[in-house]
């Protein structure tokens, strides 16, 4: 597949050029190779899944994308430009938002405050003007609040607006975390196992939200997921990793037919 061309999904959406390209990424922790020479791209408007067995290096890959880890080899291109070794908060400022496998919310803060934190990258007023609370800061705060209220409505979490998130059930916490990431209006949204530990109903809800986010805001999404059924349903293209290597890349149907992928998931007879 040529990296510059666009393609059309079976459901009729047009997918644009690459938002983020990973080129020959290798990540080592001491002697352990977590990711070995992996390249793939994520294109504008698509839902890209990264799948693989436990320990395949999926979360490490996400951490490379948002700058928690810096690969020893390889390059990351973001919107066509090569990205230097930025810090995570700088990458967040560039428009990459993410959620975490083990939910990293601000547990003592309310749902509203958590999602408001997601707006920090869109806040231009400085420390001192906030201290003095003059017009500009106030106007910005209410504009941010408006955006956040929209997200709250979108995710149907109006009733827990003021609840400290530490008290919420797991499924709702995942939803709040998604809300916080959405508040940044990211050009690339990274979701680390958004459905881990959920029951069927919660999974269906979350799938719906992910599809809606993609559909309504046109957000490009890269997600890690274990549940093959879910991945096949919502992803446009899939990267399959195993032991830090890429063993498959393509549409869900293509990946499912790939012998390496079948071996990695079902095991292979040693004779």
């Amino acid at each position: 597949m040529n990296t510059m061309e666009t393609y059309t999904t079976p459901d009729g959406r047009t997918i644009g050029g690459p938002v983020m390209e990973m080129k020959n990424i290798t990540l080592r922790f001491g002697g352990v190779v977590a990711i070995k020479d992996i390249s793939f791209d994520i294109r504008e408007g698509e839902i890209r899944a990264i799948i693989g067995p436990n320990g395949a290096g999926k979360s490490s890959m996400l951490n490379v994308m948002n700058g928690f880890y810096h690969p020893q080899e390889g390059e990351v291109f973001f919107h066509g430009k090569k990205r230097g070794p930025l810090r995570p908060y700088q990458i967040a400022e560039q428009g990459v938002a993410r959620t975490f496998q083990n939910i990293a919310l601000f547990k003592g803060m309310s749902t509203l405050d958590n999602i408001m934190c997601g707006r920090l990258t869109h806040s231009k007023t400085r420390f001192l003007s906030h201290l003095l609370w003059k017009g500009k800061a106030e106007a910005e705060e209410s504009a941010n609040r408006e955006k956040v209220e929209k997200i709250i409505d979108f995710l149907e979490i109006q009733t827990i607006r003021k609840t400290p998130v530490g008290r919420l059930p797991y499924g709702l916490q995942k939803r709040v975390e998604l809300g916080r990431a959405l508040a940044a209006e990211p050009s690339l949204l990274l979701l680390d196992e958004p459905m881990a530990g959920m029951n069927v109903e919660e999974k269906e809800d979350m799938s719906r939200f992910i599809l809606d986010v993609n559909d309504e805001f046109g957000t490009t999404i890269a997600l890690i997921e274990h549940d093959m059924g879910v991945v096949m349903d919502i992803a446009d293209r899939v990267v399959v990793m195993d032991y830090g290597k890429k063993i498959g890349d393509g549409t869900p149907a293509e990946v499912l037919a790939n012998q390496d992928v079948i071996d990695a998931y079902l095991g292979v007879a040693h004779d």
Binding site: F68, A92, F100, L105, F106, C117, G118, L120, H130
Partner: protein, 332 residues
């Protein structure tokens, strides 16, 4: 009512006021602990250093005078001018902000992701460094600090309450300085709470206090937040330094007030701003009332020296997270 009862009330009120002074120091600890999980041993020395700087600037002292004189054989002591209190306050504040920047640059930055005990050790080092540095910069003699807050018994309160008692009662004796300290502490705490609740930076502060990784992922720079937190703690140290310095002179034993803040923190919890205030008040009132009711009549007095620590010990046994602290839950 008997004079004894009124005397008890007076002791109670004085306890509240000295409690406020403890709270002021404890507040600085809580701010830094909340945002970075560091127990800042240097908080007391920061108060001392801030007060030293204030007096030094105000009285027009030449910084590093001893050093300059020793190296160049000169004899400079004073610039020969006096800086108005307001400007001296601004300069002292600027010095504390600069200090925050330097601490982040030379200490915290290099210790990211280290164990809390290592950061704690670093602040002990910082405390001794600052004590020596303050000595070198401003000299070790005891200085008188006067920022214009009146001192001594408040006559107005004394006279207007005198009618309450009989012959042996002349009205409540309250130090005006303590009353000022109480009002200032109340304003300080209110504005800190409002700041952390309703501003973007305050929200970022709370976010960092809650989860470093998540804070990074929403675009908060930890280093910028640490500078802000240490600068605010420096500001609180300046206020505490002014109050304690006005009361007992700016001297190096001022750094030991940090030790009195420890029981306050254990009572109030290390992570709660209201806790620091209530804890301070309980310790202040507790030690005065204990001395008045039990210590002096039955134990031979001087219980104020150890009462706070004993109370803290009891709390450690029965409620280790303090009154307002986050509950410690270990999941297995």
């Amino acid at each position: 009512m008997s004079a004894g009862f009124y005397f008890g009330v007076e002791v109670f009120l004085n306890g509240l006021m000295s409690g406020v002074m403890y709270s002021l120091v404890a507040l600085g600890f809580v701010l830094i602990f909340k945002a970075s999980g560091v127990f800042n041993y240097a908080q007391g020395v920061m108060a001392l250093f801030a007060a030293l700087t204030l007096v030094g600037v105000q009285s027009g002292q030449v910084p590093f005078a001893h050093l300059i004189n020793a190296v160049f054989g000169t004899n400079v002591q004073h610039f020969g001018w006096e800086v108005p209190t307001f400007f001296a306050l601004l300069i002292a504040l600027a010095v504390m902000v600069l200090f925050a920047v330097l601490v982040e640059k030379f200490v915290l930055k290099h210790l990211v992701n280290q164990e809390p005990i290592i950061l704690f050790m670093a602040t002990i080092g910082l405390a001794y460094f600052m004590e020596g540095f303050g000595d070198l910069m401003w000299g070790a003699e005891i200085k008188k600090l006067d920022v214009g807050i009146p001192q001594g018994g408040n006559l107005w309160i004394e006279e207007s309450t005198a009618f309450l008692g009989g012959d042996g009662f002349y009205g409540f004796y309250l130090d005006t300085l303590d009353i000022y300290a109480t009002v200032i502490a109340a304003i300080l705490v209110t504005s800190l709470v409002l700041f952390s609740k309703y501003t973007k930076t305050g929200r970022a502060l709370r976010a960092v206090a809650d989860d470093h990784q998540a804070a990074l992922s929403v675009g908060i720079s930890l280093r910028a937040i640490w500078v802000i937190v240490w600068a605010i703690a420096g500001f609180v140290a300046l206020v505490a330094g002014i109050m304690w310095g006005s009361k007992s002179g700016v001297q190096f034993s001022l750094s030991l007030i940090a030790l009195k803040a420890l029981p306050v923190l254990i009572l109030g919890g290390f992570t709660s701003i209201p806790g620091a205030i209530v804890g301070g008040l309980i310790i202040g009132v507790g030690e005065k009332m204990f001395e008045f009711l039990i210590g002096a009549p039955f134990l031979g007095g001087a219980t104020e020296n150890w009462f706070a620590y004993m109370l803290a010990l009891m709390f450690l046994v029965f409620r280790p997270q303090g009154l307002f602290g986050e509950k410690i839950i270990e999941r297995v």
